[in-house]
């Protein structure tokens, strides 16, 4: 897409009531309203969703895996944060 007057939008779709919106892709459009229409045409032609969010791609700030090591630290040294690190007495139920 080379038309400089068009804006890139990221598209998020809620596939069913009760679920979070999920990123599905992007569309070009001249404004938010048009982006919604385009997103509907591109991404939910077969009832894949009940709600669409469009967000200007430029408005999304993303972290980079390489930015900071600790940003994605899985905290493997903090096993105590997991329920499984507390052995329960034999026979105890519902805990």
């Amino acid at each position: 897409m080379s038309d400089p007057s068009l804006i890139l939008f990221e598209v998020f779709v809620r596939s069913n009531r009760g679920l979070d919106h999920q990123h599905v892709g992007s569309v070009y459009a001249s404004d938010h309203e048009q982006a919604l229409v385009n997103a509907r045409d591109v991404y939910i032609r077969r009832g894949e969703g009940v709600s669409i969010w469009v967000v200007k791609t430029d408005d999304i700030v993303a972290s980079q895996e390489s930015d900071v090591d600790t940003f994605y630290d899985p905290m493997d040294d903090k096993a105590y944060r997991h329920a499984m690190s507390y052995p329960m007495p034999e026979g105890v139920k519902n805990i």
């Binding site: 105590y80 944060r81 329920a83 507390y86 007495p89 105890v92 139920k93 519902n94």
Partner: protein, 314 residues
């Protein structure tokens, strides 16, 4: 009939069909207000709930117990934030919720108005208080309002650690010296009844229950959830070889549930009214923590202004 009748029918139909209500959907004003009340109260409970345990972080008996408790209290702060964020989708600001908490207009779980006197209390809170909260929250994973249900799913994933670390403290004390066993028993004696009160008044006396059940904000009644908690906790107490402080507690073969004694409702309402041991302290501490954090908010505003100025110059 009002003009809203078709919308109302449509709304109730979605709920009857087990669909979730999402923020942009039409909803009755009472549904919205009822949710704001319940969800903000839930959020406040997470936040105020940090206090009785937070007091023990620096006094926990080992470095290990300190980091465990610190992690747990950190999770509670996170749970408060998940819930405030979900409540904001109903059109109320976080600042407004905060001011309603501090003015006393909004409530929080009355259990956090009891003092945490000994290390065993930290165990009892994790095991019993979080245990009771889990029973309630598992049920709320199916609540009719989408953002609330999703917040509950996130929270429940993290709660199991909370309850187990508490039970683990109780196991260690129960296996310990005579004094330690007595300390554990004393904590159970003080926390058991307030834990049962966490489920709220009897169904017959609960002013909000009926409408909440019809709208599926609540999925199970106060008394049903309380019974479930009692049933599962008896066996856990037996494993500890400790006792629940209720002479009327006994298995009812016919009902296939435990019978248990009557809650002291006068105490319950007194604590809700603000006359518990710690009501004033909890709010006072919340206000001072908020005021002491003012410099952080000021610094953020100053930074934003400075950045905006730089942008203008450039």
């Amino acid at each position: 009939m009002s003009d809203l009748a078709p919308e109302l029918d449509n709304f109730q139909q979605k709920i009857d069909d087990e669909q979730r209500i999402e923020p942009k959907d039409w909803m009755p004003e009472k549904y919205r207000l009822n949710l704001i009340r319940q969800m903000s109260q839930h959020a406040h409970s997470e936040v105020i709930g940090m206090q009785p345990e937070g007091n023990w972080i620096s006094s926990a008996p080992s470095l290990y117990r300190k980091i465990v408790l610190l992690s747990k209290v950190q999770d509670e702060a996170g749970h408060g934030l998940y819930l405030y964020s979900a409540t904001e989708t109903l059109g109320i600001s976080r600042a407004e919720m905060n001011s309603r908490l501090q003015s006393g207009e909004s409530k929080y779980a009355s259990i956090f108005n009891y003092p945490s006197l000994t290390w065993a209390d930290v165990g009892a809170i994790g095991w019993l208080v979080d245990g009771a909260a889990i029973v309630n929250q598992v049920s709320l994973q199916r609540t009719s309002y989408g953002p609330y249900a999703r917040a509950m799913i996130r929270i429940c994933k993290e709660e199991s650690f909370h309850q187990r670390q508490g039970y683990d403290i109780m196991v260690k004390l129960a296996e310990g010296s005579k004094e330690q066993r007595e300390m554990a028993q004393d904590a159970i004696n003080r926390w058991w009844w307030p834990s049962l009160m966490m489920f709220g008044p009897h169904d017959s006396d609960s002013v909000n229950s009926q409408q909440s059940m019809k709208w599926k904000i609540k999925r199970q009644s106060n008394d049903d959830l309380r019974q479930k908690f009692v049933d599962q906790t008896v066996q856990q107490t037996e494993i500890l070889k400790l006792e629940l402080p209720d002479p009327d507690l006994k298995w009812n073969e016919e009902r296939q549930h435990y019978d248990f004694g009557e809650i002291d409702w006068d105490e319950f309402y007194q604590v809700i009214k603000g006359n518990g041991h710690c009501n004033r302290d909890r709010i006072k501490h919340h206000v001072s923590a908020h005021e002491e954090g003012a410099w952080v908010r000021d610094a953020m505003t100053a930074y934003a202004e400075k950045k905006a100025q730089r942008k203008e110059v450039a």
